[in-house]
């Protein structure tokens, strides 16, 4: 299940591809970054939407020139404590001026939902077995923010 920035939720129709050894390329797959980098031409030709996922230790610079043609970038949380995805989302929006969709996948926790949205993430792939209700509540927990963030909500911020 996906939790979206506006509080709505939707079904996740994409499959996250981890193993590219033995697989057939088709739409509705989220492809690993290194597979995309090695097979750009083929992917561009076969798919009408380019959707990739990036691990927290991978370099955003490698995506730079192709960003306009990528529809969705998913940041993986190998574990919830690895907070690089927050800065990566910020950088993708602010530094790389990415206009497409950003998703969080892997193992984030509900209490990170609002932080993720404030850093520029559009949707979160809720880990299996977790309560959508808790995720939804936590994603709207705070209505006041002390600092500027990538997705700044002036009405609820000091500045």
């Amino acid at each position: 299940m996906l939790l979206n920035k506006d509080g709505s939720n939707s079904k996740n129709l994409s499959t996250i591809i981890h193993d590219t050894e033995d697989f057939t390329l088709h739409n509705d797959q989220i492809l690993p970054l290194d597979y995309w980098l090695k097979n750009k031409a083929e992917i561009k030709q076969k798919l009408n939407r380019i959707v990739i996922w990036v691990n927290s230790d991978e370099d955003l610079d490698s995506l730079k020139e192709d960003l306009p043609s990528i529809s969705l970038i998913a940041f993986n949380f190998p574990k919830y404590g690895d907070g690089r995805a927050f800065s990566m989302a910020h950088l993708l929006r602010g530094k790389y001026e990415y206009k497409g969709h950003i998703r969080a996948i892997g193992s984030p926790i509900a209490d990170q939902a609002q932080f993720l949205f404030r850093c520029g993430v559009d949707s979160i792939d809720i880990p299996n077995g977790q309560s959508l209700e808790i995720w939804t509540t936590e994603s709207k927990r705070m209505s006041r923010f002390y600092q500027r963030s990538e997705q700044n909500d002036l009405i609820h911020s000091r500045y």
């Binding site: 919830y80 404590g81 927050f86 209490d111 932080f115 993720l116 927990r141 209505s143 002390y146 600092q147």
Partner: protein
């Protein structure tokens, strides 16, 4: 636009004159929502919806540790400033939810060692009523910003660092990007010539300076720290215009968040990042990021800065005159008072006023511990003598910042009655100690017991005064919570095949002349350690030249005479 929503809350009668940050509706709502979040997290844990493992990151972000015997709650005291109402609430909490005492920490916070988990949300409610919280007092996030306990009043101060600390507190509170850093992150700000905030040992140390043109700015240091690998912070920027503080901090934090190591928790602090990357390259990366984001709205608008600054206007001090001859006579007639003035009283900006340190290091006591009754007494004394204001220090003591010099004697008598007048500030028995094996599940050895033994052996003010300025810190494990590396005499408890052993370092300093102590030789047993300390102080007395304090003497003569005396090698 904000006027309706963010109207200021009515000030409480006791505290309205204290020059400190006061919550408005915005802050009030913020804290309330954060408590509700924590309450729901606790409910999830108590009902078994989440495991202790899943609960851990949630409780840590709110200052709740699982210690050896029970949960421990660490309450934030931003940059160490408190008013009397807040102190009374801390006393109330210790009576109602704990065992009638609290423990002041080296981050100017207070800890309670015995609350039950189900009570903690209620404790947070009580704290909220007096504008306090426990947000980010633990976890891999930006911790309580610390500062000079004499901030705003010290005679040698250039600029009051408190408004800047408050700006950093607000910016770092639930910062969406920096709540899951590689490791904890500590910032300190100092605004005086003398460094009373130990900025060299912080992840970011900020020294407020004046440049040649007379403009105020920040000298920024990065990558200092204690723990297993003590490191002195390196300069990352010689002068930063104040208006860029937050964008510069954002840039340092973002760079660290991206490149800091996450493969090994012992190498995850920014000090390791800076050492492995090199300060030159690290600075280049930060400046690159900063040049991208500065002037892009990430800094504080002038009006918001002014709003925060307005809270810290010093009070209009009543004129304070006193009979100087009678005051000198009192000191002459009363040895105890004379020692108290000598060691615990410091110069105030305002004529006729003094800053008074209350030592929480009594004879045989636990450093930093204070009973609920003593907290109430300190609150009352601050109402009667110090414009209702109190400070907590990183040396685990308290401060009454605005005392009329003519009332010092009276105050001293009342402090003495409450066992709050040890005249040992800055002396050997002003020991910093961590909880050690008595409370902490990381510890290898007891710290408190050693502190008590030392304070008993050296319980003589004449002798302590003769030994002069001397810092002695005791950590119960290599994590160095009591900063033993930076003490003139540092004691580190280790576990040697199941037996407590104490390793001694000499020559550390946390002041402007920061240095890391050197290990003097093999460790000592519990039975030997106090004798060893006495051998060290005796060696200092033998070796010192006129006017030399311990550190200066040690730096001149080196390790050899101390080694010879300690290990009987000639």
């Amino acid at each position: 636009m904000y006027k309706d929503v963010f109207a200021p809350a009515a000030p409480s009668p006791v505290t309205q004159n204290v020059n400190m940050y006061k919550y408005d509706q915005f802050d009030d709502t913020f804290i309330k929502q954060r408590i509700e979040q924590f309450r729901s997290q606790v409910t999830r844990r108590l009902s078994g919806h989440i495991t202790e493992d899943e609960f851990k990151p949630l409780r840590l972000q709110n200052g709740v540790y699982l210690q050896l015997h029970a949960y421990m709650l660490r309450v934030a005291i931003p940059y160490g400033q408190l008013n009397s109402t807040q102190m009374r609430t801390l006393a109330h909490i210790s009576r109602k939810y704990d065992k009638g005492f609290g423990h002041f920490t080296t981050r100017q916070n207070i800890q309670y060692n015995w609350p039950t988990l189900s009570d903690i949300p209620n404790i947070l409610d009580d704290l909220h009523k007096v504008e306090m919280h426990a947000i980010q007092t633990s976890g891999n996030c930006i911790r309580n910003t610390t500062s000079d306990p004499f901030a705003g009043v010290a005679a040698d101060e250039l600029v009051d660092p408190r408004p800047w600390c408050e700006i950093i507190r607000q910016w770092s509170t639930l910062h969406p990007e920096f709540a899951f850093l590689p490791r904890k992150f500590k910032i300190a700000v100092n605004g005086a010539d003398h460094d009373r905030a130990a900025i060299a040992y912080h992840d970011i140390g900020i020294q407020i300076i004046k440049n040649d043109a007379g403009e105020i700015g920040f000298q920024l240091f990065v990558g200092g720290g204690q723990g297993r690998t003590p490191v002195i912070a390196k300069e990352i920027r010689a002068f930063l215009e104040p208006k860029y503080l937050l964008s510069y901090l954002d840039s340092i934090l973002r760079t660290y968040n991206m490149i800091g190591r996450r493969d090994n928790m012992y190498k995850a602090r920014i000090k390791i990042t800076v050492n492995e990357t090199g300060i030159k390259e690290f600075t280049r990366l930060v400046e690159l990021e900063w040049n991208r984001i500065k002037d892009n709205g990430f800094d504080l608008p002038e009006a918001e800065k002014q709003r925060i600054f307005n809270h810290f206007t010093l009070p209009d001090f009543e004129k304070s005159e006193y009979d100087k001859v009678a005051y000198e006579q009192l000191k002459q007639d009363n040895n105890g008072f004379d020692y108290f003035v000598k060691h615990n009283v410091f110069g105030h900006k305002e004529d006729g006023y003094s800053i008074v340190s209350i030592s929480l290091k009594p004879h045989g006591g636990i450093p930093g511990d204070i009973s609920a009754d003593q907290m109430d007494i300190v609150a009352q004394l601050s109402d009667d003598y110090s414009l209702s204001e109190i400070r907590a220090t990183h040396k685990q003591n308290l401060v009454l910042p605005h005392v009329k010099t003519g009332e010092l004697y009276q105050l001293w008598q009342k402090l003495t009655d409450a066992n709050l007048a040890p005249a040992n500030i800055g002396l050997l028995t002003d020991i910093i100690a961590c909880p050690g094996l008595d409370y902490c599940n990381l510890a290898n050895a007891r710290s408190i017991t050693i502190a008590q033994m030392i304070s008993e052996r050296f319980d003589d003010l004449k002798r302590l005064t003769d030994l002069g300025d001397l810092t002695l810190n005791i950590s119960g494990c290599i994590n160095a919570c009591a900063h033993h590396h930076v003490a003139n005499i540092g004691i580190l408890g280790v576990d040697k095949k199941g037996v407590e052993s104490y390793q001694v370092t000499l020559g550390g300093s946390s002041f402007k002349d920061a240095s890391i102590g050197n290990i003097i030789g093999p460790g000592f047993s519990v039975e030997e350690i106090v004798d060893a300390i006495e051998t060290i102080t005796n060696t200092y007395i033998d070796q010192r030249e006129k006017g030399e304090n311990f550190l200066t003497c040690y730096r001149r003569v080196g390790q050899t005479p101390f080694k010879e005396a300690l290990y009987n090698v000639a």
